[in-house]
Amino acid sequence: MRIIAPEEITTAVEELAVRASIDLPGDVEEALACAEEAENSPLARYALRMLVENARLARRERLPLCQDTGTFHLFIDLGEGTALPHGCAEAADEGLRRATAYVPLRSSLVDDPLFARPDRGNNTPVLIHAGEGGPAGRARLSLMAKGGGSENAAQLFMLLPGEGEGGVEKVVLEAVRAKGAHACPPLIVGVGVGSDAAGAIEMALRCLLRTLGSRHPRKALAALEERLLHAVNATGIGAAGLGGDITALDVHIEEAPTHMASLPVGVALCCHSLRRCHVEV
């Protein structure tokens, strides 16, 4: 059994946090450029053009893509024969402290959420989601930086089991109509179906790791993704909420077993600045 060294985690998180913050992933940048081509509203096209320019400028000048440099999520997928060290969380936090000072990133996390809300100064803690499925003898580390404005648009719906895909479509559109314009569209919509309340939200978040344009391997879910994407774009919210044809760059669904009494549906709306990258250690 190989135990990953804490220093490897620190170095990986530092490098990933810097890269995620300033270098928009290729699939996202391409989706924004395609949206600009497809958009018919001049104001929304103006906003999309600005976002494509913003991505180029951020990369060239090594500036944060967004002043809200976000809450950092680390997804660890362990491969066969690998394990995490004791002190993994502190190792990840140290990497984020270094990245925050280096770029520099805004410090966006506060303590004492109910009362004084003093700034923590370094963006820690990294929120860690550990699982399996990485390559044998290695671990895949994926980092995502998620802004507060779009996080505020997350919703959980506990549907009746019989509400089925019609129910899912209804609540996804409800979430988008209620909060989409505040969450920096064009959005990436993650939908977690099944598990329990916490699990549905977790799956919705994980959906955001998927490459834009990819479809779920199950045909029924792939078709639902397409249908939801079409329906979300038909709301007409448009880029920056200014009205237009492109409200979402993609919709992704993940599913998991659930209780016979339940149909939990978690909906995560991510802003267009979908900042994620990964590395293997």
Binding site: P42, L43, R45, Y46, A47, R49, M50, L51, E53, N54, L57, A58, E61, R62, L63, P64, L65, C66, Q67, D68, T69, V103, P104, L105, R106, S107, S108, R117, D119, G121, G147, G149, N152, A181, H182, A183, C184, G236, I237, G238, A239, A240, G241, L242, G243, C271, H272, S273
Partner: protein
């Protein structure tokens, strides 16, 4: 008011260059959907600064910065990298400031810059006092930061990114969201 020029992005519509402060006459001339490039002074304030300002007003104290005729920008900048006047600085979600906004309108704010739609109460207060609401493109923060020539904290600097900063902007792109004729760029949202 400033001159009509062709936008750098070739988007087709005109962009108007506007020098701040935004006089009543200029505010009257703006229409929802107009694209502006602002040059001059704006003051940042977001959640915590709003909370403190409203608490100060409730105690009968003066604000640490006179807001009469000023442009208030809902934003919390990332730190300036070495050798640059500012970091990334895009708008944050305006609706979180809705409960505080009518009171600040009474203090004489000329315009607010943020992102996304506002409450009916805010729209009413803006119309009544002759203030306009402008929006930036959320997430275009590196681009918007590159239009900031100087930045300094002028109040509540213990709040870090939530302090009140005075920004000198040059060609800062915004869209008119709520004008003084009742126009609303978000009317399609219903």
């Amino acid at each position: 008011m400033g001159s009509r020029i062709h936008p750098p992005d070739g988007g087709g519509a005109d962009v108007t260059e506007v020098r701040l402060p935004l006089t009543r006459e200029v505010r009257e001339s703006l229409r929802a959907g107009d694209r502006l490039l602002l040059t001059g002074r704006v003051l940042t304030a977001r959640d915590q600064a709003h909370r403190r300002m409203i608490e100060a007003l409730e105690r009968g104290e003066a604000l640490p910065v006179n807001l009469r005729g000023e442009v208030v920008y809902y934003a919390g900048p990332s730190p300036a990298p070495a050798g640059k006047p500012a970091g990334s600085i895009g708008p944050t979600t305006s609706s979180r400031m809705d409960p505080y906004t009518p009171r600040l309108v009474e203090e004489g704010v000329a315009a607010f810059i943020g992102k996304g739609p506002r409450s009916p109460e805010v729209r009413g207060a803006l119309l009544e006092k002759g203030a306009v609401y402008l929006v930036g493109v959320g997430g275009a923060a590196a681009l918007l930061g590159s239009r900031v020539r100087a930045m300094r904290a002028v109040a509540y600097d213990d709040l870090g990114p939530e302090a009140v900063y005075e920004l000198e902007v040059d060609g800062f792109p915004v869209v008119v969201a709520y004008d003084l004729a009742g126009g609303d760029v978000f009317s399609h949202l219903g």
